[in-house]
């Protein structure tokens, strides 16, 4: 049960942290339609995060951080009262938002991967996880489609946009390998038919990415994966430096008024 709770936290943190970054676009997007679309995607992910974190708390109350006041629901206890080292998201989602092309590149990689993951999770041995995954499929298909279309538009738009798109892919690609690296918890739960071994998703994701890049007339970036720190990365709570600033902003009000109700 501790494993399942930890796994729910991983899935929840990926969505929560990426939703936080995407919501930074609100009122900053290149056109109003895109303000709406990015907010929508952020909302979908936020919803997925809330369900996963709530599930984590249900499965194993010990995941609640000691610092969280008792009246705070599990999802908020986990989101607002954990320190950076206890967050389990992959490092890709915590990076500064960058320009629009970089955001699209990140969304493309992330949603291809998460969609492939959720397709497999619909048959998870944990019925709640399976339900969360089933509900997320349509959302993630839309995210992937949105990112893919923009990748093509920017890749096959102007000279300038092509350059930006290429640079955006270059910046995001080093974080791809981590998505396919199994944490021991994932490995154990995959064995038990509850989680998915992320390594097994690589061919599917690669195939979709190749299709999109081909349509956009872009090459697969040749950049090295971002190394872990002595083998430890996001899933172990070893993050990159932008993460701390993200959490400071996200948690400040909640931490400043721990007894408050919102």
């Amino acid at each position: 049960r501790a494993d399942l709770a930890a796994y729910c936290v991983m899935l929840g943190d990926d969505a929560l942290v990426f939703a936080q970054r995407l919501s930074e676009w609100c009122s900053n997007a290149p056109e109003l339609e895109e303000d709406v679309a990015l907010a929508n995607i952020a909302l979908d992910l936020l919803g997925q995060a809330r369900m996963s974190l709530t599930r984590a708390g249900e499965v194993d109350p010990a995941v609640r951080p000691a610092a969280a006041p008792v009246h705070v629901p599990d999802e908020d206890a986990l989101a607002y009262f954990r320190d950076e080292r206890a967050f389990r998201n992959v490092r890709m989602v915590e990076q500064e938002r960058g320009d629009f092309a970089e955001t699209i590149a990140r969304l493309l990689l992330f949603s291809c991967w998460r969609l492939a993951l959720f397709e497999r999770l619909t048959t998870s041995g944990d019925p709640v996880l399976a339900a969360i995954a089933a509900k997320g499929l349509k959302e993630l298909a839309y995210h992937r489609d949105h990112a893919a279309r923009w990748t093509v538009r920017l890749g096959d738009g102007t000279e300038f946009s092509r350059e930006r798109m290429r640079a955006g892919l270059d910046r995001v690609w080093p974080f791809l390998a981590e998505l396919f690296t199994a944490h021991p918890v994932e490995a154990r739960l995959a064995e038990a038919g509850v989680a998915v071994d992320p390594g097994s998703l690589r061919p599917v994701v690669d195939d979709v990415l190749d299709q999109v890049l081909a349509a956009a007339g872009l090459d697969r970036p040749e950049v090295a994966p971002l190394p872990a720190v002595a083998g430890l990365a996001g899933r172990h709570g070893v993050h990159t430096e932008p993460m701390g600033y993200l959490l400071a902003e996200m948690q400040h009000v909640a931490r400043s008024h721990p007894q408050a109700v919102w």
Partner: protein
């Protein structure tokens, strides 16, 4: 002359003017100005509340706030579309906004200082907007009226959510209650200003009413808002910061004090606490997005020229692995 009479007859009969109908040039211009200003207000209005999305203190409130700000972008889209039926285009209106040649509601030139401001904006600012906008659902210009119907429905939802946030905060810690009262103190007078200057200083009211663009004077709407808000404030347990506010049984309305109209005019003229910031933000977003819009247009042209279909990634994913 004849056209003009027929137009006025249609309006008087409470029927809608549609884009293909003849309309007086001044009517068209008034509508463009009003709808554009309204659309700009939705877009600029994303900023003060958007300021709290990344810091919202619960995930539920974060989702509500993000959805609300997203709705505002959506409202802007409906309204720009309504304006476009009058022969202007969004890009042009946006340029006029970022160059400061068209206005937006002055209320958004005040800063949001605590999370309670999010609730108070929902309660008071959306509340005032609804008072202004409900009559617009029956305004004489069809596309505008239809846009307003959708918008009003969502706005009252937002207002209820704002009020509910404040209710929750008032049941919280003493600091939270103080936060709510402080936000009410800062937003009350600007909310009253949202109905525009007193009737005797309002120049266009009469003609707009004849054209059924407007249906109530500024002061009528302001009175309605005050009467509606006072019991809500009581229920909430906050004090509205107006020593002259009291029930007048003879009038059957509340008497209340006047906002600082000098401040109102200064803010309208561009000299408010956040005018420069709001416009600079909008201008920056617009300029930073230019290359993206150009790329999308260039790609659309290429696709049209070659007859290529849009990308569809359905292929092996579902079946694979």
């Amino acid at each position: 002359e004849d056209l003009e009479r027929r137009f006025q007859r249609t309006v008087d009969a409470e029927q809608r003017i549609e884009p293909r109908d003849w309309m007086p040039e001044a009517y068209r211009r008034t509508l463009v100005r009003q709808i554009a200003q309204h659309a700009h207000s939705e877009i600029i209005g994303m900023q003060p509340e958007g300021n709290w999305i990344t810091r919202a203190p619960s995930l539920r409130r974060k989702a509500i706030l993000l959805a609300k700000v997203q709705d505002e972008a959506g409202h802007g889209l409906y309204l720009y579309a309504a304006a476009e039926t009058l022969g202007v285009d969004r890009e042009d209106l946006t340029r006029k906004l970022v160059e400061g040649r068209q206005k937006y509601s002055s209320i958004f030139n005040y800063p949001t200082l605590t999370f309670a401001d999010v609730g108070v904006i929902g309660w008071l600012v959306d509340g005032a907007a609804i008072c202004n906008q409900v009559p617009l659902c029956r305004t004489s210009y069809g596309p505008y009226a239809r846009a307003m119907i959708r918008i009003c429905k969502e706005e009252s939802f937002h207002q209820r959510q704002g009020y509910e946030l404040l209710m929750t905060m008032m049941r919280g810690t003493p600091e939270q209650r103080a936060m709510v009262q402080d936000a009410v103190d800062r937003w009350w007078w600007p909310a009253l200003m949202m109905f525009g200057p007193p009737d005797e200083a309002s120049t266009n009211t009469e003609r707009s009413m004849r054209w059924r663009i407007k249906r109530h004077t500024n002061d009528e709407l302001r009175q309605k808002f005050v009467d509606m808000t006072v019991p809500q404030a009581e229920k909430l347990g906050v004090t509205l910061p107006d020593p002259e506010l009291r029930w007048n049984p003879e009038r059957g309305h509340h008497d209340f004090g006047q906002p600082d109209w000098d401040e109102f005019w200064r803010v309208v003229k561009g000299d408010g606490p956040c005018n420069a910031r709001r416009l600079a933000h909008r201008r920056r977003a617009h300029e930073e997005g230019a290359w993206v819009r150009e790329a999308a247009a260039a790609h659309a042209r290429k696709r049209a020229a070659t007859g290529r279909p849009a990308l569809s990634v359905t292929a092996r994913t579902e079946g694979a692995a």
